[in-house]
């Protein structure tokens, strides 16, 4: 795989754009189509493309399976933790109204944070699953 010059150059050019688009989808999900789930998938695609072109060993140097394992759980913790935070502030679980000064501001904060949790979990789980498949033929 290492000699495909065109693939390497084109993917180096594409990967930053894919990641940028993933962030756009993540943080623009309030206004247009998209959200944490789609953004996570698109973000993971950038890493999958990198793994396909440059190999699993170089990909693992950028983001190791151990880190991914932690990130995958961190996303769920962020989401569930938002619910706990609203509980501690005296509202129902996952009721974001109390997270800001006004209910609408609270909703904005809550939605932003939980979408971030969704994105982190989806992206790291997708990369982990691909790593698992790609790592099968190692030995």
């Amino acid at each position: 795989m290492s000699h495909n010059l065109i693939l390497r150059i084109i993917s180096k050019f594409l990967i930053p754009l894919i990641i940028l688009f993933a962030f756009y989808v993540q943080f623009h999900g309030d206004f247009g189509p998209g959200g944490g789930f789609q953004a996570g998938v698109i973000f993971s695609v950038a890493f999958i493309l990198y793994t396909l072109v440059f190999g699993l060993d170089s990909a693992e140097k950028i983001i190791t399976p151990v880190v991914l394992r932690i990130l995958a759980s961190l996303g769920v913790v962020i989401y569930a933790g938002t619910g706990v935070a609203s509980l501690l502030l005296g509202a129902n679980y996952l009721d974001y109204d109390v997270l800001g000064k006004t209910p609408v501001a609270g909703q904005h904060v809550g939605i932003l944070v939980i979408e971030l949790g969704v994105g982190i979990t989806v992206a790291s789980v997708m990369i982990l699953i691909f790593y698992s498949f790609a790592g099968r033929d190692r030995d």
């Binding site: 989808v25 999900g29 309030d30 206004f31 247009g32 189509p33 998209g34 959200g35 789930f37 789609q38 998938v41 698109i42 993971s44 695609v45 999958i48 396909l52 190791t64 399976p65 151990v66 394992r69 995958a72 759980s73 996303g75 769920v76 989401y79 569930a80 619910g83 679980y93 996952l94 974001y96 209910p103 609408v104 909703q107 904005h108 809550g110 939605i111 939980i114 979408e115 949790g117 969704v118 979990t121 989806v122 790291s124 789980v125 997708m126 982990l128 699953i129 691909f130 790593y131 698992s132 498949f133 790609a134 790592g135 099968r136 033929d137 190692r138 030995d139």
Partner: protein
């Protein structure tokens, strides 16, 4: 008029792709056709004005699952085994019968986008009227997914997390074992 034309085109492409998937024995071609099928489904969702669903379908169905199936193919062989020798009449009868019942079931369904349909009468009017003042989020789909149905989405994220854990437990041990070996040596 143009809507019907697009619908007919997309649906016939879907049918052609499905038949091709059944007929072709080369698994690489089948996986590519699966990707095309997902992309066509995404186009159908766009026609139905479900942009968020189309987005997900294109990214997950057309992108990730195709890559994952290709990765699986790398671990197995390219050609499907010879088709089973038994007669195909029984499966065909079952499929035709089930399909006929499903088509029959659609006959008394409300028309597409009918405001009086039961599905539009439950909580949808509340979301349409209140989501803007409740959450201030212009995209109603996001408001429903992340705020009104926050519990559902938390469940979905947990499902994805669990799926990742399952895959890691089944085939992911190489990833971590190898590192430990390196540390020891």
């Amino acid at each position: 008029m143009i809507d019907i034309l697009i619908d007919v085109m997309l649906m016939s492409f879907l049918a052609i792709t499905a038949i091709a998937i059944i007929r072709i024995r080369n698994l690489f071609a089948v996986i590519m056709l699966f990707g095309i099928f997902s992309l066509l489904s995404a186009a159908v969702f766009v026609v139905l004005d479900a942009a968020d669903v189309a987005f997900t379908e294109a990214a997950v169905g057309g992108g990730i699952s195709t890559v994952l199936m290709l990765a699986t193919l790398a671990l197995t062989r390219q050609q499907e085994e010879k088709p089973p020798a038994h007669t195909q009449w029984l499966p065909l009868t079952v499929v035709v019968f089930t399909g006929a019942i499903l088509v029959y079931g659609t006959l008394d369904m409300p028309a597409f986008g009918d405001p009086d349909a039961p599905a539009q009468q439950h909580v949808a009017p509340y979301y349409i009227e209140k989501s803007q003042t409740d959450t201030g989020v212009p995209n109603m789909v996001t408001a429903v997914l992340a705020s009104y149905r926050g519990f559902d989405t938390l469940g979905e994220v947990t499902v994805i997390f669990t799926a990742g854990v399952g895959v890691l437990l089944l085939i992911g041990s190489n990833l971590f074992k190898r590192r430990r070996d390196e540390d020891e040596s």
